[in-house]
């Protein structure tokens, strides 16, 4: 699979951030700052219908009276929201490209470096790629093929124009517009993202994926993704990100909403490797993402799998709201923090319907001067009879300058439920390392092997293509931290 191989080739070149480059290209820049004018500008660029603009403006108004939360462990320097650009798109994309040949060759070169073979449709072997380049969707491959079976996979902007009924029905229904500061910010200034709709009874035959890239300095990425799986349908969605080297921190505050109706299943996998800051802890992406899935229908299932190795600060809690009877929510996570990275991540499983199930497997690895926190909530509503939860949080510490923390909140209001939570903390033992080395592996390989073993349960959940990339990523993220 060329994607994975490209990445591996890049990583073998050294542990320095392999994608540290910038594309020099003219970009249309909106003036700095956050204002009603900017919101209008974004909406106009996207050619959105009036109702969408109204929605954005409502969020903008709401934002004025909200404050950033401060209960999280990783503290960050104050962000001046007026000092950011909220829209940045390459000029050559002002008009939608008619075919792939219409794309600016510079942009195409960028995608090739990233290993996204837009031009190699045939070799893609079944992955439809919606490649987002800084705030505008460049191309949507395989769109036609998917259309034949009724699957809609397009940019969210396009969806507001082509499928307004669906967007209006579901946008903001899982993450309410005023849920919290970053969600509201996103609702006002989101610039792009994916829209997926799977019609009843359809099992999406290929994995859907999106690549992100943040380019221009001080541009926050505000992506918005909405995935709807109608009755009895199935979709597996992959999200993988890279970003170039920068000195200033860049903010990424995306919103992802998933809706699964009766008997439907959504599998959402993420491999996140954004610029984590240099070895001294400068620069790096702030990844403040809100991801939430609603298991609306009976027997529905949503499963989140994430491998987070990048970003200076990762702050996200992919969650499941288990409304439908017999619905299931799963969360598998590997979060690796090295050098000066900080992560405060976890999940929320809200049990509302009857006989709901949730499973949480979280593996946190902390090295260098990093700080890694698992924060989770398992909440059983008084009416949620027969709910079952199993949580396993394991932390692996490398050295004594880092920290690993577990903060689970368990709220059990129904006596017929069963909640089981376990957490352990350990280290890479010298015995294990010696054993591997005695069998011919060098230090790096040994660490990689042991850590991959530690994360196996989670990595197994990833779709094949990602799994290979992820394994390599996991090994590389800890280079230089042991010994």
């Amino acid at each position: 699979m060329s994607n994975g191989q490209e990445f591996i080739k890049n990583y073998k070149q050294g542990s320095d951030y392999a994608h540290g480059f910038v594309t020099d290209i003219e970009t249309i820049d909106v003036p700095k700052g956050l204002s009603k004018e900017v919101v209008h500008f974004i909406s106009k660029q996207k050619k959105e219908p009036q109702w969408m603009l109204d929605w954005r403006l409502k969020a903008f108004d709401r934002l004025q009276s909200m404050k950033e939360p401060d209960w999280q462990k990783p503290k960050y320097p104050k962000i001046n929201y007026q000092d950011l650009y909220y829209y940045s798109a390459p000029k050559s994309l002002t008009d939608q490209p008619k075919s792939l040949d219409d794309i600016d060759p510079e942009i195409r070169k960028t995608y090739e470096k990233l290993g996204i073979p837009l031009l190699e449709q045939k070799k893609l072997a079944g992955i439809a790629v919606d490649a987002v380049f800084d705030s505008v969707s460049v191309a949507t491959t395989f769109k036609d093929k998917l259309n034949e079976i009724g699957v809609i996979f397009c940019s969210i902007s396009e969806a507001t124009r082509e499928h307004p009924e669906l967007v209006q029905k579901y946008l903001g229904s899982v993450i309410p517009m005023s849920d919290h500061f970053f969600a509201t910010l996103n609702s006002a200034v989101f610039t792009d993202g994916s829209f997926v709709y799977i019609p009843p009874g359809v099992r999406c035959p290929m994995e859907l994926s999106t690549y992100f890239r943040i380019n221009a300095s001080n541009t926050g990425q505000f992506e918005r993704t909405l995935i709807i799986a109608d009755k009895g349908s199935y979709v597996s969605y992959l999200e993988g990100c890279t970003a170039p080297m920068r000195d200033e921190n860049q903010l990424h505050a995306a919103n992802v909403e998933l809706v699964a109706l009766d008997d439907a299943e959504i599998k959402y996998s993420t491999v996140q490797n954004w610029y984590p800051g240099d070895k001294e802890g400068n620069g790096g992406i702030y990844n403040f993402v809100t991801k939430r899935g609603a298991c609306r229908g009976k027997n529905s299932k949503i499963s989140w799998t994430q491998v987070e190795t990048g970003s200076a600060i990762t702050w996200k809690y992919p969650s499941c709201i288990l409304q439908g009877d017999n619905s299931q929510g799963e969360f598998y996570s590997v979060a690796i923090t090295n050098n000066y990275q900080k992560a405060d991540t976890g999940t929320k499983m809200i049990h509302l319907g009857k006989n709901t199930r949730s499973k949480i497997i979280s593996k946190g690895i902390s090295a260098g001067h990093a700080d890694n926190t698992y924060r989770g909530l398992v909440s059983i509503h008084p009416k949620a009879t027969g709910a079952k939860n199993y949580t396993q949080c394991d932390s692996l510490l490398v050295g004594n300058k880092c920290g690993a923390h577990t903060i689970p909140y368990i709220e059990n209001k129904n006596s017929t439920s069963e909640i089981e939570h376990e957490a352990t903390t350990s280290k890479i033992s010298d015995d294990q390392l010696f054993y591997c080395r005695q069998r011919g592996l060098n230090q790096e390989e040994a660490v990689s092997l042991i850590v991959n073993g530690f994360c196996k349960e989670v990595l197994q959940q990833l779709p094949m293509e990602f799994a290979v990339e992820a394994q390599k990523l996991v090994g590389i993220s800890l280079e230089g931290s042991v010994g």
């Binding site: 510490l397 368990i410 069963e418």
Partner: protein, 416 residues
């Protein structure tokens, strides 16, 4: 916020007549000022997130700590084994100094103020401002006491005050040993706020076994704070049995400051009606080779709420720490609620730390096994619940007290 005028007036009245040295006066005024600036805790404060006190403290805008007439501890409540007594009746300490070989028990008049960090815990601030009763237990080095010390906290039917605070010290010098049994009995049926603040210092090689019985309190709101500092090779065995307590927060901070010290903390929550009982426990591993174990079990009936927040903190130099925590809750009626937040904050890598928390109802397979042996459904359930809670009592290392608590369990599980 709330109206604290009445409390301010009462504090003024109190501080103007209370006899103490200047440092203490200063500290009390500072604590009170800190309390006023923050007021009673709110649920948005992470430390008080699930606490029943947030709701119940609202009743106490009129904290009056005047002492009502002195009553005596009824003889029926006195333990019949040989022991040293410390008796509080209606919030007043009735004590004649004890000066035995190696043991000193006296009224805590000097109110050593070792809790210097005023401002963090609002109720502790209140206690530091108002506490005017308390005991001091001090064992000199190498004293191994065979007679246990029993602390009686008795609230009689004549108790009319709305507030009482005590501040106590237990100091064990090197290699000394003692067992302290503290029992609280409530005959009063008015609403009042009790705050107690006990500081424990265990010097090298010393061992303290503290057993607390807190039962059957339908009206009052209680804040129990214990802070223990353990030095090298010292051991704290701490067991609490809370049964049918209306509204309470048992908060403990245990600092493991010396190599090879060990804190063994065990608790039972057996709650009915609308009881709301919170255990907040933090064990700080500040030194290498320290060990801790937390074991809490809860059985909830009717509309009771139980809260458990247990934290294991491991400092970056506390390598070879062994920290273990287990909390289990049995939810035995439709309207009960269990909130748990078992936390790990770890900065050292060569450690063994784990925690587990589970909640649910009684295991059906086990009930069937017992029934297949002729035991009725109700009896089977009762056997399982008693067995469940009994596992915590098994951790008590003093046999005499193990039996006392098994009897209490038997008594309380068969009564409503």
């Amino acid at each position: 916020m709330e109206n604290y005028n009445e409390i301010k007036i009462n504090f003024e009245k109190f501080i103007n007549t209370f006899k103490t040295d200047d440092n203490d006066l200063e500290f009390r005024k500072k604590s009170f000022a800190n309390f006023i600036s923050k007021g009673f805790p709110i649920s948005r404060d992470e430390n008080w997130k699930y606490s029943p006190l947030v709701q119940d403290l609202k009743k106490f805008s009129h904290l009056n700590n005047k002492k009502t007439g002195i009553n005596a501890l009824p003889n029926a409540l006195k333990e019949n084994f040989d022991h040293y007594s410390i008796i509080f009746v209606d919030g007043v300490l009735i004590l004649t100094d004890i000066n035995d070989t190696g043991l000193v028990i006296k009224k805590n008049n000097s109110f050593l103020k070792s809790v210097k960090k005023a401002g963090e815990n609002p109720i502790l601030n209140l206690n530091n401002a108002f506490a005017d009763q308390g005991y001091l237990i001090e064992l000199s080095s190498n004293t191994i006491l065979t007679r246990p010390i029993v602390i009686y906290n008795y609230f009689s039917k004549n108790f009319l005050s709305s507030f009482c605070s005590s501040k106590n010290f237990i100091l064990l010098n090197e290699k000394s040993n003692v067992v302290v049994y503290e029992k609280t009995i409530y005959d009063s049926s008015i609403e009042y706020l009790i705050t107690s603040n006990t500081e424990i210092f265990l010097a090298k090689g010393s061992k303290l076994k503290k057993y607390d019985l807190n039962c059957n309190n339908k009206h009052s709101t209680i804040f129990n704070f214990v802070k223990a500092n353990l030095d090298e090779n010292s051991e704290l065995e701490y067991f609490t049995f809370s049964e049918n307590i209306n509204s309470c927060r048992d908060e403990s901070i245990i600092n493991l400051n010396g190599k090879n010290c060990f804190a063994n903390v065990n608790a039972i929550q057996l709650l009915r009606n609308n009881c709301n009982h919170e255990i907040k426990l933090q064990i700080n591993h500040n030194e290498e080779h320290t060990k801790s174990s937390q074991f809490v079990k809860s059985a909830l009936y009717d509309s009771a709420n139980a809260i458990f927040q247990g934290k294991i903190f491991v400092d970056s130099k506390a390598q070879k720490t062994d920290g273990y925590q287990l909390s289990r809750a049995l939810l035995l009626s439709d309207n009960v609620k269990f909130f748990s937040k078992p936390e790990l904050e770890i900065y050292a890598d060569d450690v063994k730390c784990s925690h587990g928390s589970s909640s649910g109802s009684v295991d059906e397979e086990s009930i069937f096994y017992l029934r297949s042996r002729g035991i009725s459904k109700e009896d089977a359930k009762m056997m399982m619940i008693n067995g469940f809670l009994g596992e915590v009592i098994e951790k008590i290392t003093e046999d005499k007290f193990k039996n006392i608590f098994f009897n209490k369990l038997d008594h309380y599980s068969n009564h409503d």
